[in-house]
Symmetry: C2
Subunit: 221 residues, 2 copies
DNA sequence: ACCTGAACACCGTTCAAGT
DNA sequence: ACCTGAACACCGTTCAAGT
């Protein structure tokens, strides 16, 4: 599993084949089948190993479970804990950029993934959410709990990629006729970030905080 | 493109190969390369054709652009319009269950996708959002604008799949030891839906409304 | 239990050739 | 412009065989 992760980190996910991984391990392709049912099983294992790298915030609990802390102290802190967990997950996932698409294509979660989700649920339940509210929160947070969002705009005209002001202006005037609002946003985003495109880290945190704020409101209904 | 979509609808995405698609078209595999640069280009085209199937809500504008409607009327309705657009997108996407993972794996949006995003931006801007707020909203909404979320829990113990009460109870007691909160949620979800698992449509709408509510708050800051 | 090597049924894509 | 057929360099996975 570790060899597979290292290979994907180095050469990208498309270079993960039984033959290439075997070569990396100094072994024949078929030997891998002793340890893994098939290629899908290999990917399952790699994904679960990656998620297992996310540090566990001490059972994922909300702080004071022991001595002096009143329940209300723990209650107030579920958002902070969740935020830390999501950012910790993101730090890990950024190390394995091939992982998000592979995670999304898995059909069943592995043991490390289940443990991680259980830790998240623990924080919400101890934070005062009902079971039903916790269920909704899980759907709302989605892949953000694992530290990523699948943005549809990676290469999109208005998102990433630095441009010099002149070519940017050219593109925008071309675009403006058919896609005026994309053009407008592309221009704004290009200017704002010192021509650096959009800051994915900042957007991730903004969206995460947006959701955590909303969840706080969910509780009091 | 249409043949590719039809084949994927019928036999699943893993059965999309140049050779099989060619056979479906009564032609040799290499003939397809006259119309498409390579397989990735084929998938790009299929995805963009699917997104092109989402009905356009009359320029995606916020209702009254003509006679009597004051601007404030249009302003109040951006959330309703966005909601309709997302549900329309979802109706289309449910027809092509292979599409979400393929959409997520695209690196650049096609023309139909760009038009759709532009329509969404139009609604937000006309609804009174600043360019910066609109940009944030796009990141927050993510793939929900295209009618799907990549849930991590498709097969997960507590999500889908109907179980009879006895086996459910058995699984829960096994699970309870190591994954108490997943067990708790699995049990609750199984009971609530007449043993039917979790209602993805309802969860999608709940999460969508949750976000739209939050965006309304974003405006007044 | 773990590894090997040959083989099978596939892939995407090239190239030269046809109409 | 569009299609063909052979070929190349790969795949995942089987099976029988070894240690």
């Amino acid at each position: 599993m570790a060899a597979g992760i290292a290979l994907a980190d180095r050469d990208g996910i498309e270079s993960i084949s039984m033959r290439k991984l075997a070569q990396e391990l100094g072994v024949e392709a078929m030997s891998i089948y002793t340890h893994v049912r098939n290629k899908d099983d290999l990917l399952d294992g790699m994904v679960d190993a990656v998620i297992g790298q996310i540090p566990t915030t001490a059972d994922g609990a909300g702080g004071a479970d022991g001595a002096d802390g009143a329940d209300s102290a723990a209650d107030a802190d579920w958002a902070t804990t969740l935020r830390q967990m999501a950012l910790a997950a993101r730090a890990v996932i950024l190390t394995h950029p091939w992982a998000p698409p592979v995670i999304e294509s898995r059909t069943a979660p592995g043991p490390a993934t289940l443990r991680h989700i259980d830790a998240v649920l623990s924080v919400l339940r101890k934070g005062g959410f009902t079971v039903a509210q916790t269920h909704h929160a899980l759907h709302i947070l989605g892949s953000r709990l694992l530290g990523f969002t699948q943005d549809l705009f990676d290469d999109s005209a208005g998102s990433s990629g630095a441009l010099d002001p002149e070519t940017a202006a050219g593109i925008v005037s071309e675009l403006g006729a058919t896609l005026p609002y994309i053009a407008e946003m592309a221009l704004a985003v290009t200017h704002q970030g010192a021509l650096g495109g959009c800051d994915d880290d900042a957007e991730f945190q903004f969206a995460l905080d947006f959701i955590l704020d909303g969840l706080a409101g969910l509780q009091n209904r």
